[in-house]
């Protein structure tokens, strides 16, 4: 009885505490995400008539459609991003399985920390590490010559495959963590039951494990895809000037061309198109976004 009255007296205070706790998140969301995007939207929808005079226009969006370079770049970026996401999933799944189901106790946390360790180093340094390994005078081409596999050092940088490797490496952790948590919640007796009823490795993977881990797989894939398609550093450094990554186009518009309107339109297009791809992905895998985010 007393506890109840206490709770009622405390209600306004509790509400205030909740507001205070939420304040940083609200400020962050409003100040750094909503407001800039509103500004971007306004920017992207105007055309300069004369200095200082602007009018409403879809010109920037039309440029994206009319100029093949731009939408080709986007398609290419999206394609490589999807490929990178799929590769990350394929590599991360066995690793996550090993961490969640095979090792026990201390080794489990040690392995997760090992996945985290590359993130101790800044992304720039990590990517430069790849460059040291892969450039013509780098470690790997030298090794290939020493082993007699190639006659002269091969330039391994500035290929699409190099970009892919860099992106997968950067994304690994974001796939492994949701997969581990999804697989850990899978009851081992389900796998045994399926085996007992006549299932084999592949059918159990496909009928039992993948459906159970689907929210984790989708969550990891969304995160990796969004990080990859919006990545700037890795494609630029590993792919060189001709990497044709969509974020580079945005950078060019804002910084080199000083065409903020066009850059804003590209930024918006990136947001809309990548969201559309994620939506299609969710529909194809029959997952709901809320469910995925809750269970991952």
């Amino acid at each position: 009885m007393r506890a109840e009255t206490g709770a009622r007296l405390d209600a306004p205070r509790a509400r205030l505490a909740l507001l205070l706790l939420l304040a940083p998140a609200v400020v962050w969301l409003a100040g750094l995400i909503v407001l800039p995007h509103l500004e971007l939207a306004v920017l992207s929808l105007r055309a300069r008539v004369t200095p200082g005079v602007y009018e409403f226009s879809f010109n920037q969006y039309r440029t994206f459609v009319d100029e093949p370079l731009y939408w080709h770049t986007f398609v290419r970026t999206a394609g490589i991003s999807i490929l990178a996401t799929a590769s990350t999933l394929l590599i991360a799944f066995p690793a996550a399985w090993y961490i969640a189901k095979i090792v026990r106790g201390r080794a489990q946390s040690v392995l997760l920390v090992l996945c985290l360790i590359p993130f101790w180093v800044s992304e720039t340094v990590r990517t430069l590490g790849w460059m040291i390994l892969l450039r013509e005078s780098g470690v790997l081409p030298r090794l290939l010559v020493d082993l007699g596999i190639t006659a002269v050092p091969v330039e391994m940088l500035y290929h699409d495959a190099t970009i892919l490797v860099g992106l997968v490496y950067t994304s690994m952790l974001f796939m492994v963590v949701p997969l581990v948590s999804a697989l850990e919640s899978l009851d081992d007796s389900l796998i045994e039951a399926a085996y007992d009823l006549g299932g084999n490795g592949w059918s159990i993977l496909w009928n039992i494990v993948v459906p159970h881990a689907a929210p984790g797989i989708v969550a990891g894939s969304i995160v990796v895809f969004m990080l990859t398609i919006g990545n700037y550093l890795t494609p630029t450094l590993l792919g060189g000037k001709n990497s044709l990554w969509f974020t580079e186009q945005i950078y060019t518009q804002f910084i080199t061309r000083f065409n903020w309107e066009q850059g804003a339109a590209f930024g918006f297009l990136l947001l809309i198109l990548s969201t559309a791809i994620v939506w299609v992905g969710l529909k194809l895998t029959r997952q709901s976004f809320g469910d995925v985010m809750r269970r991952a």
Binding site: A193, G198, G199
Partner: protein, 382 residues
């Protein structure tokens, strides 16, 4: 290789009636022997239970039979065929798991049809067999339900149907009633027995609950520390326990520990530390001076307000009523024996003659020495 299979076929005909034969199976984990050179045979169509406390190795044995664990030694024959190197998905054995392990990502129909799908049966055939099986377990038309829409009892029926639709030689059940609440457990116990009788499939059931084992089984093996203490019908285990462990584990029992002072034929007289003399029937080799333990069932002990009311020839004791445990037909009274201060559980006659018994009342009690059993004392494991 061919020759071996032929030989197995030969043995199959001679042992036609045994669905399961376990032959000297041993499993060690480091220095701990979980299953110690066990042998058993389960005839076709019977309900066989393995009863034992947790950690006695019964789950290990079941998983060896299912094929999830390879024994260090010995062989398993199912339907007369050696299961050495046969993986679980190829054995004519299916298992109902402790928490049932229904596939939550599938409907009830897909769960029941899973094994048939894996065998590559035609879609129509699967549908009709699933339909027939669900009818037989009393869940007609439940195909499209999700697993989480089912009650505990229905889930259990689906788990059994999922196995029986494959027509296994043997169905293994790993304490499937453990997770249910008491009332449902009582109900499912009866249902399980009826299902077994109806399908005629050989059931091997493991449990730590002696009531489940006694009610359900044709035969029960009492397991302790990796070995069988006794294998027999529920009646044999209850009335003729062959070891102190079985007497203590199966059914309620009063235990008296003492030293043998006299032997008359099969009746020994033991003296407790306090000097109380108790007579009981000896099981196994006992000589004067041995440490022994005697077990007396609560329903064997007769109670009387006056010692003269007790039948002639029964040994008589007296004590004070400590507490009354009224439970309808299972009512009992706890009496503190006068000399040893030991607590004795006595079943009250169902006639209600002692319904007016009161705490602290002094009463006489006694029992026929032939109906109490006495074993050489052993140290209890765990």
């Amino acid at each position: 290789m061919r020759r071996r299979i032929f030989l197995d076929g030969e043995t199959a005909t001679s042992r036609m009636q045994q669905d399961l034969e376990v032959d000297g199976v041993t499993k060690r984990y480091g220095s701990h022997t979980a299953v110690d050179a066990l042998s058993l045979a389960v005839p076709h169509g019977s309900f066989f239970s393995i009863l034992g406390p947790s950690g006695c190795g019964k789950t290990t044995l079941l998983r060896i039979i299912a094929g999830f664990i390879a024994p260090d030694d010995g062989d398993i024959r199912i339907g007369g065929r050696s299961m050495r190197a046969v993986p679980p998905n190829r054995r004519p054995v299916n298992m109902v798991f402790q928490h049932l392990a229904l596939f939550p990502m599938m409907t009830v129909g897909e769960n029941v049809g899973y094994g048939l799908t894996r065998r590559g049966a035609a879609r129509l055939e699967i549908a009709s067999r699933v339909d027939a099986m669900l009818k037989r377990v009393g869940l007609p038309g439940a195909q499209d339900k999700r697993v989480d829409q089912l009650s505990g009892g229905q889930k259990q029926r689906v788990a059994i149907a999922r196995c029986l639709v494959l027509e296994p030689t043997l169905l293994l059940l790993d304490e499937p009633l453990g997770a249910l609440d008491l009332k449902l457990r009582e109900h499912m116990k009866i249902e399980l027995k009826q299902l077994q009788a109806e399908f005629g499939t050989t059931f091997v059931y493991i449990t730590h609950d002696q009531s489940e084992a006694l009610v359900l089984s044709d035969r029960v093996a009492v397991m302790n520390a990796g070995r069988f203490e006794q294998v027999g019908t529920p009646q044999e285990l209850y009335y003729q326990p062959q070891s102190a462990f079985v007497a203590g584990f199966v059914g309620a029992n009063n235990r008296v520990v003492g030293t043998v002072t006299r032997i008359d034929g099969d009746i020994v007289t033991l003296a407790t530390a306090e000097g109380l003399a108790v007579r009981a029937r000896a099981i196994g080799a006992i000589v004067a001076g041995d440490r022994v333990e005697t077990y007396v069932r609560p329903e064997v002990v007769a109670i009387a307000r006056d010692a003269s009311e007790l039948a002639l020839g029964t040994q008589r004791f007296c004590g004070r009523v400590q507490s009354l445990l009224f439970d309808g037909a299972n009512s009992a009274v706890l009496v503190r024996e006068a000399t040893t201060r030991a607590e004795v559980r006595i079943a009250l006659p169902q006639t209600g003659r002692f319904a007016d018994l009161e705490v602290d009342e002094t009463i006489a009690f006694g029992f026929d020495a032939q109906r109490a059993v006495c074993f050489p004392a052993v140290k209890h494991a765990g």
